[in-house]
Amino acid sequence: MHVSTDILTWVAVVLTVGIFSFLWKDNPFYKFCEHLFVGISLGYFISLTWYNAVYPDLFRPLFVQPLSEVSLGNKLLFIIPLLLGLCYFCRFIPRVSWLVRFPMAFVLGWGAGVTIPAVLQTSIIRQMQGTFLTPGIFARWDVFLWAIISFVGVVCSVLYFFFSREHKGALKVASETGIVFLMVGFGASFGYTVMARMSLLIGRFQFLLRDWLGLIQ
């Protein structure tokens, strides 16, 4: 066992222990880590946003690059997002705070327009294509059985989300079958996620035991 002498490792250890201490109870040490986390994360985000979006996409072409590289027309095109972005500042000026709606409208409208066909393509049409029963299922008994079960599962689970009728009679049977599938699906997700999170916890312990305490290799 040889304890690390690297100051940065110690910082990481202190922060790790600070967060874990919340499991015991809320305490000043955790509050310190929590507030530090909040501040650093926002600062990190601001830096990334500046260097990954604002500077290369707006500031550099608009103010830094000479006209020989970016034509006047193109420069003028950058004025639009600049103005829209500046509208966000109006939120802090009560008289013109409604100007905030302009950039929001732009972002929302764009998002909605892009979403509709994209979702239809990936989540509806392509998923439907994958759900159809095809003659290929006759190849083997197990393939056939699983395909039928999957198909029934999809149909019944969709019926569970049918809100326009009271679930009575046949619809009740179908939606109850649907719930069975949904619950098995959630159980599977749970089991799967337990595995992933455990891996992360183990990773933290490996850090503490190896990088800090030097207890393992």
Binding site: T49, D57, Q127, F161, A188
Partner: protein, 209 residues
């Protein structure tokens, strides 16, 4: 003016972006690239809203000496220091921001929060994972199968367990996920359509009509 122009912007952007999807012509591709870049820029400015609110919230707490106000100082100092380091020395690999702030502050904080989840899973498993109903029992059984099938110990209990776990994941689980996706997708499309047509106006803040 305060409502009509935003609604007009939403309508124009929504419709042009939908049309764009079906048109492979270079003009349409160029329009997509241009607007995507604008969105990135405008989206970046939105951080102003958050940062403004953040500074006001915490400085207000400090000024009025609210409970735990000294912690707010930590948040504010952390924000200023990180931003200065980030903007001043850049974000490239090897920079102070990446090598010190990211690797030794953000990563352990983040990973520890993530790892705490494992403990919460344990307590949730003990406290709330009850086979109260037959649905809950099903959830439990499926979770057990997958949890055991995923680790070596499962295979040593029963050789077929990994296979069974994979079956649960690929047959009933897949069916349930698909059903949810259909519903969620239709909901998303309907909402987007309502936003474009100006029927959904919650985002304007204040009054649905």
């Amino acid at each position: 003016m305060k409502r009509t122009i935003p609604l007009a912007i939403v309508l124009t952007m929504g419709i042009t972006m939908m049309v764009q999807f079906f048109v492979p012509h270079p003009v349409s591709v160029g329009y997509y690239d241009l607007t995507t870049r604008w969105i990135r820029i405008v989206g970046a400015f939105a951080l102003v809203l958050g940062t403004g609110s953040f500074i006001m919230f915490h400085s207000d707490k400090v000024r009025r000496r609210r409970q735990g106000w000294y912690y707010s100082i930590i948040s504010l100092v952390a924000l200023v220091v990180t931003t200065v380091i980030g903007l001043g020395w850049g974000i490239r690999p090897g920079s102070i921001l990446q090598n010190v702030i990211y690797a030794n502050f953000l990563v352990p904080l983040n990973a520890s929060m993530f790892a705490i989840l494992a403990f919460y899973m344990a307590s949730a498993a003990y406290r709330a994972f009850r086979a109260r109903t037959k649905e809950a029992a099903l959830l439990l059984i499926a979770a057990f199968i997958v949890m055991l099938g995923m680790v070596p110990i499962g295979a040593s209990i029963w050789g077929k367990l990994p296979e069974l776990a994979e079956w649960v994941l690929s047959v009933p689980n897949m069916a349930a996920k698909r059903a949810i996706i259909f519903g969620v997708a239709l909901g998303g499309i309907a909402t987007s359509l309502k936003v474009i047509l100006g029927i959904e106006r919650g985002w304007l803040g204040g009054g649905k009509q």
